[in-house]
Symmetry: C2
Subunit: 303 residues, 2 copies
């Protein structure tokens, strides 16, 4: 199945208790596309960067089979930049700087070549922009997955509710599930959110794993207890990339495959946090990925 | 296998966002014994109460096959009393009142009848009292399990470290694992704690499940996402009771049985939190328990 991913391709500067980076390549769509590329050789990207964006990263995308036809490069403009500092517990962070740059007027165009997309992965962006992309695709994809964050719930809840009516899978974290539903119990929150449109809901709980819900079932994917979480940036997007990447190889999109896809996404995310930025994500191979997925299986199996 | 459990039998007064109780029966050993009694018909209790303790609760223990020979009733004295109020998130609580009463000079005597104990379950108590009980048992039990809390790490760390050298399984929560080891990463914390003596470590993470470690392996038991956590009091002790109860029925104490025991403990705890105090724990039957254990299995199974 053909995947189209929409989201930011950006620069990040990150500080964690373990160290500090200069400007490095980041962005939701970067993590999503790279993660998905381990499962699908026709991942297609839609994003925008400035002319300061390194050609060698675009070459990296291409070398991993990622189609960059949908990557707009704006002459004379600068790439979106985000800078943040993680607290000691690595679960919370402060934003130090945000420079929207090219993102300010991002108006994604879906290339003609992407029209036959089977899985549309909408990375975290302004909800109206996500909605606009759905509107441009003539034949509804088999699966639309949307990631979002608390920021949009605070300033654009109506737009967000409008777009999540049209999707199949929503991925948010536990705090966001509580914010979106007004319910403290995640089980109750899930029930309410599933009434808003999506058929499936994934609640990401960071170091505590992830929950997958549909109207009848609940599945829990653990997080691998790691010696060190070096840099959590991009973990959620890497999860999403592994999730859609795995599903794109399945014969059908159903509860069983969705469960495995959540495990695969979790396994991919567990790599990303081991180093800064995309460093760890770009050096993986199939053997290493399968062995990590197997670790997840072992972690929860009992007789 | 014969289980001996040591710990408090007490009165609690509990306030949660869902309601408030008068003095009700609580205490670590109460939850441990009742929970274990669903798996083992010869659970043996060691504790102390005052003469204000209701005869009908002692009858309840007996009706569930719990041997109360080790329950000292102190004439003219009052039972240990604790009162607490849970915060909105149900993960934190304030202690409103603690009246040690009979617990002040609790000097447990192991009855002669209990000497052939196979599994010794030491509920949360002063570490030196836990140590004293181990010292009274002539033939070392097959398995010694100890539960403790942050309070003892703060005021009696040396005594605690002395007693945990002698045990097989330590059960603590994530905050306590960090406090005991000085490590933030639970995986690193586990490595350090296993060097202090115990062969197995269980880290309880409340609504985020529980981790079981030995020197080579890690196992993760999820918590069941519940619509409502009504009252978390006793969840950890109910877990411990289910854990030792299940193990006491096994032919051997090994990693595989230990994993299942953690699931059984989690399943038992998931009942306790559904109502106030021991209310839910005393009305269970085998069918209901097996169906709950099966829910845990479904929650994490994938192909």
């Amino acid at each position: 199945m053909k995947i189209v991913s929409v989201g930011t391709v950006a620069f990040d500067a990150i500080e964690t208790p373990f160290g500090k980076t200069d400007k490095i390549v980041g962005g939701a769509c970067t993590y999503i596309s790279l993660s998905a590329s381990y499962f699908n050789s026709s991942a297609n990207l839609i994003s925008v960067v400035g002319e300061d964006f390194p050609e060698k990263t675009i070459e990296l995308f291409k070398s991993r089979g990622i189609n960059t036809e949908g990557l707009e490069i704006k002459k004379g403009e600068k790439t979106f930049f985000w800078s943040g500092k993680y607290h000691q517990d690595m679960n919370t962070r402060d934003t130090l700087d945000t420079q929207l740059n090219v993102l300010e007027n991002f108006d994604p165009i879906v290339p003609e070549n992407y029209q036959d997309c089977d899985i549309l992965m909408l990375g975290n962006l302004t909800p109206s922009v996500q909605d606009n992309v759905i509107g441009q695709i003539k034949k509804r994809p088999k699966l639309i997955v949307l990631d979002t964050m608390n920021f949009w719930m605070e300033i654009a809840m109506d737009d967000l509710k409008k777009v999540i009516k049209k999707i199949d899978v929503l991925t948010i974290n536990d705090e966001e599930a509580r914010l979106l539903s007004g319910e403290n119990s995640l089980k109750k929150a899930a029930k309410l959110i599933l009434k808003m449109g999506p058929k499936y809901l994934i609640i990401k709980k960071g170091e505590h794993g992830a929950l997958l819900f549909d109207n009848e079932n609940t599945f829990f994917a653990p997080a691998l207890p790691l010696e060190e979480v070096f840099d959590p940036t991009g973990a959620g997007d890497t999860f999403a990339g592994g999730f859609v990447g795995y599903l794109s190889k399945c014969e059908a999109i159903n509860w069983n495959n969705m469960k495995k896809a959540v495990i695969v996404g979790s396994a991919m995310a567990s790599f990303t946090v081991e180093k800064f930025g995309i460093e760890r994500l770009i050096e993986l191979d199939e053997k290493e990925i399968n062995s990590r997925i197997n670790e997840f299986k072992q972690l929860v199996s009992f007789n």
